[in-house]
Symmetry: C2
Subunit: 452 residues, 2 copies
Amino acid sequence: MNERGYQLLQETIERLLRRNAFFHLNKVLNKTHPADIAHLLTLLNERSARSVFEHLPDKEIAANVLSELEPGFRSGFLQELEVNRLVEILSVMADDDTADLLADLPEERRQEILGLLSSEHTEDVSELLAYPEGTAGRIMTTDFLVLPKTLSAQNAIQEVRKAAEKEMVFYLYVTDEEGHLSGVLSLRQLVTAPDYTPLEKIMTQDVVKVNVTDDQEEVARMVSRYNLLAIPVVDHSNILIGIITVDDVIDVIREEATEDMLRMAGTSGEEISYSSVWKNAKARLPWLFASLIGGLIAMNVIGAFGSGFGNHIAVFAILATFIPVVNGMGGNVGTQSLSIIVRGLATGRVDGKSILKEVLRELEVGLLLGITYGVLLALAGLIFTGDKYVGMVAGIAMCVNMTLASVLGTFLPLVAAKFKVDPAVASGPFIATSIDVVGATIFFMIAYLMLI
Amino acid sequence: MNERGYQLLQETIERLLRRNAFFHLNKVLNKTHPADIAHLLTLLNERSARSVFEHLPDKEIAANVLSELEPGFRSGFLQELEVNRLVEILSVMADDDTADLLADLPEERRQEILGLLSSEHTEDVSELLAYPEGTAGRIMTTDFLVLPKTLSAQNAIQEVRKAAEKEMVFYLYVTDEEGHLSGVLSLRQLVTAPDYTPLEKIMTQDVVKVNVTDDQEEVARMVSRYNLLAIPVVDHSNILIGIITVDDVIDVIREEATEDMLRMAGTSGEEISYSSVWKNAKARLPWLFASLIGGLIAMNVIGAFGSGFGNHIAVFAILATFIPVVNGMGGNVGTQSLSIIVRGLATGRVDGKSILKEVLRELEVGLLLGITYGVLLALAGLIFTGDKYVGMVAGIAMCVNMTLASVLGTFLPLVAAKFKVDPAVASGPFIATSIDVVGATIFFMIAYLMLI
């Protein structure tokens, strides 16, 4: 459905709600894809959204809608939902989706709900929840088809037919008697094989797999690199314990890209626009506070130099007009370096180990850019102030500043990655503010040495 | 394969190359996944990379390696490749991958190669190349299985077996006599259906599809929203002309995220770190130039105010120390707004139409943040300068500045999106520089009015 489609759907639903035409509402919802209903809920006002959710045709559809809701919107929506209704819906939801949803709830509410689910479901879900957020274990499903390696192709086809209600089946994972992952075959390999061949003769033995404790970003990279539709998850003794399907991997890729982009801009990593203005502001406040502290330091550094200029206050005033351009260019070049490295680390293009190589390369780039714009600024300074020394000071400061900013924008995220901290946390505001402080110091120091 | 795996592979390959042990090299490459060979090439020095590529076991593997190579690295690598060798490899490459690869080549070389390929291949590839870059038509494959709706389930299974060499089959698209898309069924639906049922009885008629001219981002959103493994592509009269598989969609999602992130930081959208220092610098130069112009304007604005202060030059000097903090905070808050909107537009969370709503919300957030930090800066100003008026001026300027920056960071990308320009082009440096100019003007204007 495209934007126009959603608009029409929204209008229809709102009209039916106004008229209390619940029979028609039910019919329309029954014909609408759960993913579209999930998107629709975010377009409606809160009261209408709740009303639509209450009138979903059955709990299976409700479960699918909840699974498809964006996390940022969902956590608010779930808070208002009655526990009994939620338990009813969760009882038909897949393990991995249930775990994902419960992870968003406050601890107390989560425990209450886990106590009300069937004991089998509770056990499976608790197992998934035991893996830390962001690991393969947390996003895998334990509900999938496994075939013993001695089974014949013909019997395997029977198994597939019977398993129609399980997770989407594209790859069939084959295990030995102890449950160790021994091979994989595609549904296509299976249907094209002679009837009585045992699976171990047709399966591929070299299986691409991930460990249950692997980072979800690593999982995404593997699935993307090898163009897979699903990837098996094993524990430390190679026992097959779950699979991760490509649709969940796409969600991971999107979430991680969102997180990187927002963190780099200095907000909390989750999408926050659904929530209130206050929450939105709160997510951005801390980074801005760090930035304020940096700015105040820069202010005092400049002020100290200003006093140092004593009788040359007029020179100082002229120099001060250069602050925005010198700082701004430094901040921009630093942010460029930062983005290139953070994205490179995310796509696997940049190897987290070759810090020196990357820093040296950016040093060269920064120097090249710094000299270019340093010369331009020196000329501009000469033209605008008529004083060749002022222009030269500003030009040199800008060159040093831009070079340093490139190095800093490369070095900080790489070091963060080395210590397993999210490299995006070395955010743009942090780099820009550091450059403000360091840049102002360098600028006025050079000025002090050359002009006074 | 993980980082350690690549390191071992690289060492092995380099050792074999040094010893000219081409027989062993061939054996190792034959056991390595083409995607891993593609990654390996980026780790080796240029001479070794070329040597490995020359010693690939066969042209099918070479075709897969070229398909998996990252675009940024590939275009440089292809330049040095002999035309005959390339034609030989392309002859066994899928249409969509061939088109993707040829699109990277200079026009002249592309025509030369198209002239040397088989006429059928040339025709298919030229057809794909006729669709503009970034559309569904450009990334679809025309090589897929279609079944007539009157076929029986049993006969359809035979067709699937025969089509084993085609694109990965997960969904079977069903058409009427004229080739119009009439339904879809999964391989699982097919194998679980009674033998003699015609496909039109078991197929799902409501097919999620895209138009050949749709934007690839729209394709990615659809596949991601409906958790699809492939999506059919139709022309304007609903004739089925291609399919797009999820692995290509993952590439689109990654590329678009990379593009957004790099553009927002003010570099060209492609990953550039493989290329030379000079190319890297060149991609960043133009945005920095725009930033320089902005900075020079800010400089002259401040300078003009400076002259206006006349005998109050000491006050001006004190005010100047506030420039970094006022500008920096504005730039940061603007970049935050920008990132939130650009990412929201990419994930489909923000509706490109509700400009006013989004701007008003950000206005509130900006005001809230602006008041908070304005008060803090006013207090800091009082403490550091001992002058309550200076602090107040700076505080008011910062509040106005931050509010304006939030609005600008929201408004510009939304307007860009409305006019079908990539919203990420309203880049961070652009916002930050605008704020430098506008912010400085506001700051000194308020100061001028209140202090002189």
